[in-house]
Symmetry: C2
């Protein structure tokens, strides 16, 4: 009567899902639309930075050799033969004891090899000519930002798959990427299943609860870089569910349902996968919450059957769906970033299954600590709001104590891990 | 000739800017558009969670008292009088030695006070009636998720100003927030100044460089929760700049220029502030990069005169503009989150000014370490792309060594600090 399912380890489950991971497609956007998207090709320096020798200060360009005898006792005077702002270039080559007045960023005039900062000079005028004098010598190269000293042409500055942050945006502009090739966001369909579900704008009724999973998953999809397509609530009716799911599959790149994957009489998803002809990669994972998480595959398209339980649903998305989305976005480190932290509370209850505990990071001096973010029951929705991490407590016969080192998966960082599983 | 400006400390500069910080306005969005926005009011539980006593498992609801004599030797049998799925409620009160078949999430039938998991039961049928039997006793309350055990009605679950993450989204849906009051994003205008600037789609020319600051700032504005409005490049021409700036001020909530705030002959911003009648809060800060950062105020509107130098511009935005934007979004911790990390490189060069070094965090076991993210010159654009933090090196007469504890401001986290300055 009750189907016996054999649980597999989390790492094995992730491996089976990732065997269907593939790179996505690219689209070209204006640089102004590119922030937050993932690069679909390496960002290469199209020229040296700086592109020419330039002055990092306001001041005067001189030939260093002319300044060698300058000292407090021996002022050396230069004729100011030209004045150029940033964006302009000197019109003639500088000769002995001549100087060019320059603004910050201006290109070094031909013949000059040092810059004297404005505040170290004394300016005068005589007979309609401008002069400046200095009281110390300068060496060739003093106060020059040299061509290519920051970045050489041809250098790969940012790798394909990187999420575009403000610094990357600056590089794209610097190197003339007016349009940017980015990964197209995958479209991800979400159905919530369950006759007990009310829509968000319906009043509560006896025995019923509002559908929160679909909205949560849609936000998780956005956070991970996909486009959510909310398809609605499906009642516990096999034929209706089957038809709705079948007709929606082609519209999306990835398909998610929440609920209906347990072994209850109203859990239709297993039978729907069978009727669709999808092959089930697994239907039981040795983890809490989310042990009933089921993933199926149909013609290369993944169907994620997440638990109807909010925390289990949340964890299932982050462990199994996120790396598929991030791979479509070309991220070579598609999994949640795994770090280590000190457990800051006792967690005495042992569990044979690996637990993923909604947690909050604490930065204390230079040590990373972690605590559960709230009431720890798998149906506790409030602990998810404060969660910035999932603490991993491997299954076994003993509990965990304050001060032990545990693995933690970070939920809100754009960095990722290549393979966080042992 | 050269204006002498008196530098003020960073904390004092931030304080002067923050004296003009104010809360923004709210707008109401559909829950589907709310992800990533900031709550403009507290999120309050509109009912208990769970809203009724319910079963966390598939199984049978019974009266615990009827099970007291059950043991391996003494099977106790119950008549299954009803079967209810999640979303339905039992139609009659349960009597002695009666049971109700329940699915996960179903409301507890009247009269029952315990749930027996399906796998602990044996089911049979006789004379058209269904029965189930058990071999162990249950206590009142066993396997019940009690009304309100997760969350009590009226509880403030998430505070005003919090950025909506997937967990908050789930709470909004659970409590029937079909529309959500969120902070309206402020509109922030950006001009880049400098005749040396080419637009991103122009070819390089001698002496000129492409405008990268405006694109970077626009991304920083997006990251901090504002809407960037790029207004273009202004040439080094006082009247033209003045007119363009004056006519743009009314269109935006916050106004930013990059460049033109130094003391060079082409740095018009100070004179433009004067002609506009704006009061300058400061025009020199004891920091590197970004010492020329200037902030002015006109009728309560802030005008940020950021440096033309990319790194200085970047730092200026994060230290001074971000907290203003985050306050408009109701965030009570509007500054970049400050944590402590171990410096993982020697930094021997002392500097009288406080330095903000573009840095990268390293998680090593449970210790947070920090290293500069690249070539450290104030005009180095490439180090910004890899920066996830700004390391604070207070000014003084000595350098810093590997292993020292330093303050670090995190750039990519939604958490913030109330006041990170000493």
């Amino acid at each position: 009567m009750v189907e016996i399912r054999k649980p597999i380890q989390v790492s094995e489950a992730v491996k089976r899902v990732m065997s269907f991971a593939k790179h996505g497609v690219l689209e070209e956007l204006s640089i102004m639309e590119a922030y937050g998207r993932h690069l679909a090709e390496d960002l290469v320096a199209t020229h040296h930075v700086p592109p020419f020798d330039r002055s990092p200060y306001d001041g005067f360009a001189i030939r260093a050799e002319d300044s060698q005898l300058a000292s407090l006792q021996n002022t050396v005077e230069f004729e100011v033969v030209e004045e150029i702002g940033a964006g302009y270039v000197a019109s003639k080559k500088v000769q002995a004891y001549q100087a060019v007045r320059l603004m910050t960023g201006a290109q070094m005039p031909e013949g000059c090899d040092a810059v004297v900062m404005l505040e170290l000079t004394q300016e005068t005028e005589r007979d309609g000519k401008k002069y400046m004098s200095i009281k110390r010598p300068f060496q060739p190269g003093d106060n020059i930002s040299f061509e290519g000293e920051d970045t050489r042409q041809g250098t790969i500055l940012v790798n394909k798959g990187t999420k575009i942050n403000p610094g990357v945006q600056a590089l794209l502009a610097t190197f003339g990427y007016g349009t940017v090739k980015v990964a197209k966001k995958p479209k991800i369909g979400v159905f919530a299943t369950g006759t007990e579900l009310l829509e968000v704008d319906q009043d509560l009724q006896p025995g019923k609860i509002r559908n929160s999973n679909a909205y949560m998953i849609c936000a998780q999809i956005e956070r991970s870089g996909g486009i959510p397509k909310y398809l609605g609530v499906l009642p516990d009716d096999f034929e209706h569910c089957y038809n709705m799911i079948k007709s929606s599959l082609d519209e999306v790149d990835i398909f998610i349902t929440t609920g209906g994957v347990s072994v209850g009489d109203y859990d239709y998803l297993p039978d729907i996968y069978k009727k669709l002809g999808a092959s089930v990669l697994f239907n039981k994972v040795a983890m809490r919450p989310g042990s009933v998480t089921t993933v199926a595959e149909l013609n290369g398209k993944l169907l994620f059957g997440l638990s109807g339980n909010p925390s289990a649903c949340y964890v299932g998305y982050e462990l199994f769906t996120r790396p598929i989305v991030q791979t479509l976005l070309f991220n070579p480190r598609p999994h949640l970033l795994k770090v280590e932290a000190l457990l800051n509370e006792n967690y005495p209850k042992p569990n044979p299954f690996t637990r993923f505990v909604r947690s909050r990071l604490i930065y204390q001096e230079t040590t990373l600590k972690v605590v559960p973010s709230g009431f720890d029951k798998s149906n506790a929705v409030s602990s998810l709001a404060a969660a910035s991490a999932l603490m991993i407590l491997p299954g076994g016969t003993r509990g965990y104590e304050k001060g032990m080192m545990v693995d933690v998966l970070l939920l809100e960082t754009d960095d990722g891990s290549e393979w966080p599983w042992k």
